[in-house]
Symmetry: C2
Subunit: 364 residues, 2 copies
């Protein structure tokens, strides 16, 4: 419907779409930072490793103000490719979707309203001590999810956390899922070996092994995860009893799904993943292969195509840079469904280009 | 309708009620703390002055969890009279009203989800330097208000800030309204003289005088106000263009109304005040006389009566202790309107008593 790509569990996906079509979603963006992101070569979400502390707050400032406040210009990769928050911001605006930001744990706070859950920034998972206070952040997120569910037809939940695919690999491995070589990367060349080495070191230092935390999702987050996960999964637990939740992200959603399944499998029926075509078509990762191991929930993908874009920064998405983040895929889908096709993928693309041009002009 | 008391501008009040009846509100509780509250004799919102830092976070914990976390038991006055959050909590639960907490600036953070706007706790207004960063907190609150308005039929906004009537007197005086002797108090005997002395000292130290900040509401907050005001008025500015807002509080709402009027008088038509019978009947303050000077918006009052309560802590409300706070009056009205009279004042009272008994039993 409306050109949405059904990438996995097509029938369930069509039912999900049928149910949320024309409804009013709320977008919730969970942001966090960690020391894991600063391991050289791990993350492209920032000009350089130290910059990753600024990427999530800058992303959500862009959503609210149409420009960043805690940094000049936009968050970009080392090659200058812009943040997917540009896509999210455009889609939110076109479809007038209400937006809330949740902090899982941040080093730099956004200069914008955000919901505090008492979480701290994440550590370096090589130490085997990744996240403090998982349980408390989770419980507060659950309360928040319950309240947000009361005010919306459904929720779209996205994330921005640099280094998030490496912690995803860590949690999935600890919980006994085969994720090696299957997680995505914001870089054009996925550093699978480096990520695996980081996870192996974390496992060793935490004294755990493949599958040993199968039924201990909080311990998996605490040892090898990141602060986004506690908040994101808590939001789902709070909201998905009463409402559908579109999990807006790439392979990181597999870790969230594994956590949710371990805590409350009966709500899985209310979940779908909303991602981008760039994730689905990526040869260096395997979202479907991950989800297939956990729970057969539908994967929907946004049909955005920057192949003929006049802007190199956007065209780079077609070559596998960035791919997803800040809920870009899921929010694009939600915007098109809210407007029941009155907004097309082409129109969305044109507006993203327009916003990108404006931001480039302002920067000069 | 449904026994709601129309205390001022009856016709407009009836129209307002007609429009929100049966609709789905969201409750937003703005909390903050200040050094003004610690001036001996100013506030009864806490066992003792130092305790006032804990009252707002404890109030909102009660709303979310049905019990406080940062303190044992309930926030009480020095005489042991319980917080009006008990009323609010009961009404929110009965009518299943979604709730969000906003910090204007806090010394002690609640152990619950809350929305951070970057504000700091307030100073002592005797110095003439009461609130830092008014403009920034206001702008962030405005964004938040816009987003909350998109998710609800209307908003009910309440507050919890000890010492709030004294800062209200300060702001109204600086803005040229005759508020002396007209503001309320949580104490049975209203310390008007003390409050006036505090305000006079603040005026003097700030180098301002009666009415000199008539059109400078941000400066009035910064010199003689409190951090709740910047957040509360920003929320209204963001929300009330698109939605009705029920300002849930007592005489402090006069300061908010004065600020909103100075900033955007065209949205006054979407505002009403929702308070308690105890405020309306109070001989030591004059809410109507304050509102009448500012803008002719309706005042609705909750018809709660604890006169025959078995609990002395509740019966004390009939003798003019506490009177209002944490949106108790407005949320009670909203709960009865949401359920279109299926919930009566008597049922609400019985449930408040039940919750109070449970909390007393847990404490023993």
């Amino acid at each position: 419907m409306y050109g949405i790509i059904y990438a996995y569990e097509r029938l369930k996906g069509e039912e999900f779409v049928e149910e949320i079509k024309g409804k009013n979603p709320t977008f919730v963006c969970v942001i966090a930072t960690s020391e894991t992101a600063k391991i050289p070569g791990i993350s492209a979400a920032g000009k350089n490793p130290e910059f990753t502390d600024y990427t999530p707050p800058a992303d959500v400032e862009l959503l609210f103000y149409g420009r960043c406040k805690c940094i000049e210009g936009l968050p970009v990769t080392p090659e200058g490719i812009p943040t997917p928050a540009l896509i999210t911001m455009t889609a939110l605006k076109l479809a007038n979707i209400p937006t809330f930001v949740v902090s899982g744990g941040l080093k730099v706070k956004p200069k914008a309203p955000f919901i505090e859950l008492g979480g701290k920034p994440g550590g370096d998972i090589r130490t085997g001590r990744a996240v403090e206070g998982v349980n408390e952040v989770f419980e507060r997120a659950k309360i928040l999810g319950k309240n947000l569910a009361k005010t919306s037809d459904y929720l779209v939940v996205g994330e921005s956390i640099p280094g998030g695919t490496t912690t995803c690999l860590g949690v999935l491995t600890a919980m006994g899922y085969d994720a090696k070589g299957k997680i995505s990367s914001s870089m054009p060349t996925n550093p699978h070996e480096l990520k695996w080495k980081v996870v192996e070191e974390g496992l060793k230092n935490a004294g755990i092994y493949f599958g040993s935390l199968k039924n201990k999702p909080f311990k998996a987050i605490a040892t090898l995860g990141d602060p986004m996960m506690a908040a994101f999964s808590g939001l789902i637990l709070g909201a998905a009893e009463a409402r559908k939740v579109l999990m807006a992200g790439g392979t990181q959603m597999a870790a969230i799904l594994a956590i949710v399944k371990a805590l409350k499998p009966e709500i899985l029926k209310n979940l779908a993943i909303g991602t981008t075509k760039w994730i689905i078509e990526d040869k260096a990762s395997d979202l479907k292969g991950l989800i297939n191991q956990i729970a057969k929930i539908p994967i929907l993908a946004a049909n955005l195509n920057f192949g003929r874009s006049r802007y190199k920064g956007l065209m780079a998405y077609e070559y596998g840079v960035v791919k997803e983040g800040v809920g870009a895929g899921g929010v694009s889908i939600a915007s098109i469904l809210k407007l029941k096709g009155k907004l097309t993928w082409e129109m969305l693309k044109v507006n993203i280009e327009k916003n990108y041009r404006q931001l480039l002009e302002e920067a000069h």
